[in-house]
Symmetry: D2
Subunit: 435 residues, 4 copies
């Protein structure tokens, strides 16, 4: 089912390349390509995506940025010890882990880093271009799977969540159609990636003084996002961090002629909410309160112990309820760091709803999953889909990929079933006119 | 929103008219019509159904059959004591309860009843025609909300469930299109219901010896269904009982020129399954086992303590999984009679699934609801929709109403979101060409 | 079983007398005394307490302080509407509710109140003495069931929780034996309550400038507690508020010659923890993390939305784990205000533990209860037990009543089963030598 | 803490020696003896048991009977693959697994076995005596950890459960005191085990025609139990199978002069019930219904798919409720075979209870554990305790070990806390007078 029309190799550049999600994606892709495991969890390997021209799993070449140095084979062993990866997998795909490890470059900024935003974007862009050239890649997708950043301190304290100023409007958030490059239908020449936002070009620099403003540095996630576009790569933000959603990047995103998608992968509790919310709405049941508690260890638990990072995460969860129920019900969402749980997460939801004549009823759900195992196949799906969209000349935000996100691009349906229908329709569109 | 083009009054004839669901529907309809309660739980009162020409709640006239004699006001007080109805409602709608109570006729067969099937169908038909005439009703919908019957003993012991012999095929199960009466496009004349299956007409009697066979009596639910069609009424089977799904009724159903819908209202655990099943399928997650336990008291608990009745109920639950997952996973469903819970039901589901690289995860759900309060608005929705379909000349099985059923008519989508889309499209079709 | 040796009438003076717990206790006591309901939830009505000389339920006379004015019959109707009280109870015990309502006096300090601590203690004491005299009561028990106060701001930020400085030691926290008044064995003369801490007596005033210090006012709960002792009443603190646990009250408590008990009634989640904790400990299973979320509406939910009030509440919950497990595991406790739940509470606990060879396992509990209904019988139990202890001349803190508290008096066992054994032994001690 | 007075080696003979529980016990004992893992889950390694003279873990020598042939190292690898054992343990304790494997003898009867009961008892006895002699063991404990047998078909269909005729009375069920051998105080001579029930001795044979009766064969568990006593070994029945609870074994058990204990290890759901039941009882809360569902795979799931085996298991679960609540509430217990869960078990309990004034509340518990990991340390605890009891000359049933059993020997307390207190007292008794 993963046959492709061409043998082109495609890059997948992971921001946070030594993290649990990235390691699981790299190891799992190798395992599936070698036939060691079936592609469980990957929608793009189901019949609905056959013939859509997606790159084969064996065609994906991994690299990325990270600020830590633990080698991927070591990280894989840690994950296997925690039950996230099959025990024998790190050894079985050691060669592929080492190959990816060799393509990981230092991220930034690190504490005490004196480089300017522009320095960093330039360095990251250069890493990407080098990767494309050395590995002879037709194109690459940059995927942010790094730890969640705190919500920007400068964000207005609106109820809508952690969006930075202006992120909710303007060209960067327009649907794909309005973001077509001047010469639509002219896909980037394979092997010769377009490089928008050349540093020398006045006014186009993602982090030039004029746009980043006196307010200081861009968030790291935005630096990587700017570098992705400059290097002619499509971009996926799998985290709630700012990424492309920064006003300073609006022009770059709009004019870059590249497809991008985000934000915040929908892996567990929010996945559930995106099917339960519509159920209540369609049945005209009134949800009075929706409360949730997440227990998780691992790096994510620690990162989200920062209330501002948790706020960023929770905004996406609330958005799903607001969108599917038509109103935000009572109730809070807690994210607790429980190191004893390791990479496993338990999410409990309690939904108090009213039925006929005001009768009070409840639904409780307990989801026990491994976040890395839930996220990794989505990362691979997204890389394949966005790479193919790039190949087909599609640009701008892709609300058709809302199936994968808590906080999808504008114009997306909110219920999971509708999002799935939109995704399948997108696959058909990718298939059109073949290669 | 419940405005209608005409002031016609429409009958709702409930089989099991003194049961919890029926009592809740009658009391609740009166409460909403009087503006005492908002129409929570009624999809047909949401904007998507505006202008579809559905009869107003205030236009519904209730009657029915039952074998017990407790008056409706008394039943309503019992339900209020159990927290199913608001405490002051029985008094507030006493007049409407008494009016409906006056239209309840004795059901059958009762123990020791010596009447033949044909005698009973004739008696029930006569009750219906009398109701229509005396109350000056344009048309009526017969809705089976009686206790679940045991699955037919003569059913082959197949894994597929409690379907009676032949029910899975043949004309009775054909989609609506093939069930048009000889003179399509000729709706029954309002006020003068067509009476198919006149007893004197050879070979057309639902329970004539030739068709009911030597195997003995028809199930009671089928006697009522036959009477409904003979009296020119549309028919809804809200239970897993046989009803129209009996081979002896196939010709009657096919030639009756009446719309009908079924089977087995989807109120709680199965409602959940119909959104969770597609979620797992769309995400390509492999469900290994889906286990469920239902605790319920009230009449339903006692009725389902009969393993054959439980088997009938469970077949619908399994069908939802089979249809949405593509395979029936491991796991059993238990229905326990727990009188201490009264009319309240607790349903626990445990879903063991596999994700990426075979990682094992689980989802548990606990649904605590009141079955009568969940079922009653669906009964009212169905009565309104089927009455309007009847008015519009639609006939035969209506898979567009799959949203309401565990075991819908053939041709229906299986996920709840798709079923909702089909329902909304059906509402639009009812709207077409106005009145 | 509620027979008593004497017909003496005993006062129960409730701080927060118009709250849900107080209203439920007054209504319930009347209902049981009238034989309308069995004494479910009252340990003191079980055979183990027969013959212990406890006052009969019919002998209890209610009064109290509150800052709100809604009459008790009205409050009872509100509770009945929320399902906390049987629907017909407010009418059935209207006379008793009115009688108690007539004995409720204004509490304080109210916003802008210019009275000094000493003024307030004097006023409260006077209210109590007036109650005893007018109603001809042998003795009275003051029970704090008011909303939880924020943990004192002046408390050292220790991990141990909200104890005020010095509350963990000193005479006020010594076990009963060391708190005997100078003339032990000489119980207060019935009908002539001893009044410790006469305002005129230098250095003995609970809130005299010298002891309350420059730090400002005593917490309201401490003002009431001081008044109780001055009026010669025994005292129960059913909340986590400071009450007698204030250093300024240490001498008064030690020299008062009165029994007292506290703190923080153990009604739901902590009750469970007090049996589950010992289970893990006895089986040598290692609890890695114990996380909890409480959802509750009503007044309690709102009060505990104040993080400092929640901190006071949570300290007791943690203490139970520390005491029974020997160490505080990872995990947090959340208390969410969810108005939609009314007086009903849902508490979810997730316990991650390790078994043989480090195998990781979990236990989850979901407790759905009505806090008022859980608390009220404990309040009545405590009032009866402490009144009898007073009668028997027992004084000082009573760790034998740990069964009822999250944060019992020092010297108490920590597991519920051991606490029950201590309680039954206490009942036997109350019985000794009869009357 | 596991120091012992002597360096004597003690045999542990496991019926079902290749099962999950046995394999886990053997591997875990070796791991703890080697210091590879702390003794989590073993009460006998806590301070309360210090100095009780229990045999050291390193002094235990394993052997047993089984009808299957898969070698222990292989079984351990299977368990490690399923996450029951740490992944590296099978290799680390391979020597010990091989040593135990060499001491496993074929069980019986196998299908088509033509040997009489007496033949089989003789063979099993001979295996045991050979084990004792060859390994130079002072004494041995026989522990039944085989799959649950169906409840005897000949059992009267009483509600009390699966007890065979007469098992509830008679000398075999008398407390230890009445079961002393003719010459009390004369413990079996170490190294020279007494062999009761010599086959040649008329009327003493456990399965002689006169006692086993015309009703046919003894259950296999009873054959092994008879052999244990004949070989002078103490005996533990960790399963709900009949074992010593057969009337034909009553005289042998009474006259054997050996300690024995049972029945049915209390590992998960029933462990919980044994602390929750007393909680409700002590608080005078009325449990209306207690319903449970167990999902488990592995061998146990398959064995308990036999309704008669499940009935045997459930009887113990019900007994705990009856004993602690004083009455058996409504509600059923289901045991589902769910192979997808492997050796992991999920047990859901739903408890509907009434509080003050009849208020209805619920508690739900979900226990997710690994049965083998829960059972193995209890098996080791019991072997050590019973061996020491044997050494100290204690005989007959030991209700002091009720802490470990669903269906303990008569005279035991029913709540877990009381059982723990009895166990600690027993440890003190074992300590008395030293060695």
């Amino acid at each position: 089912m993963s046959s492709t029309a061409t043998a082109d190799r495609v890059g997948v550049w992971l921001i946070g390349a030594r993290g649990s999600v990235a390691t699981t994606a790299v190891a799992g892709c190798a395992a599936m390509a070698a036939g060691l495991h079936p592609p469980t969890g990957m929608a793009t390997e189901t019949p609905a995506f056959a013939g859509a021209g997606l790159p084969a799993l064996s065609a994906l070449v991994f690299g990325g940025h990270d600020v830590v140095e633990c080698p991927l084979p070591k990280r894989a062993e840690q994950l296997a010890a925690g039950g996230v990866l099959p025990h024998d997998l790190p050894l079985a795909v050691r060669a592929e882990l080492l190959a990816a490890d060799a393509e990981i470059r230092p991220g930034g900024p690190h504490p005490g880093d004196t480089r300017t935003d522009e320095d960093l974007i330039t360095a990251f862009t250069s890493d990407l271009l080098d990767f494309l050239r050395r590995r002879g890649l037709t194109r690459a997708v940059v995927v942010n799977v790094a730890s969640t950043e705190p919500a920007p301190a400068s964000a207005p304290s609106d109820a809508a969540g952690p969006l930075p100023p202006g992120a909710g409007s303007g060209p960067a958030r327009e649907p794909g159609e309005s973001a077509e490059p001047p010469a639509p239908g002219e896909p980037p020449v394979p092997g010769e990636p377009s490089v928008p936002g050349e540093p020398g070009e006045p006014g186009r620099g993602a982090a030039s003084g004029a746009e980043a403003g006196a307010g200081g540095r861009l968030p790291a996630s935005s630096l990587y996002a700017a570098a992705a576009l400059r290097a002619g790569c499509s971009y996926v933000n799998f985290t709630p961090s700012t990424g492309l959603h920064h006003p300073a990047l609006a022009r770059l995103a709009a004019s870059g002629g590249l497809p991008h998608a985000g934000r915040d992968g929908k892996t567990g509790q929010t996945l559930l909410r995106s099917v339960l919310g519509p159920m209540f709405a369609h049945r005209a049941l009134v949800v009075r309160a929706w409360s949730g508690t997440n227990l998780l260890g691992g790096g994510d638990g620690a990162a989200l112990a920062d209330p501002r990072a948790a706020a960023a995460k929770n905004a996406g969860k609330e958005r799903v309820l607001a969108d599917t129920l038509g109103a935000v019900p009572e109730g809070e969402v807690h994210i607790d760091d429980v190191p004893a749980l390791g990479d496993w997460k338990t999410a409990w939801d309690h939904i108090a709803f009213e039925g006929f004549l005001g009768t009070r009823m409840t639904l409780q759900t307990t989801w026990q999953g491994c976040d890395s195992a839930l996220a990794a196949p989505l990362v691979l799906d997204l890389a394949r889909l966005l790479s193919r969209a790039h190949e087909r000349g599609l640009t701008g935000p892709r609300p058709e990929l809302a199936f994968y996100f808590k906080d999808p691009d504008p114009g997306a349906p909110s219920g999971l079933a509708d999002q799935y229908a939109a995704l399948v329709a997108f696959a058909a569109r990718l298939r059109e006119r073949g290669e």
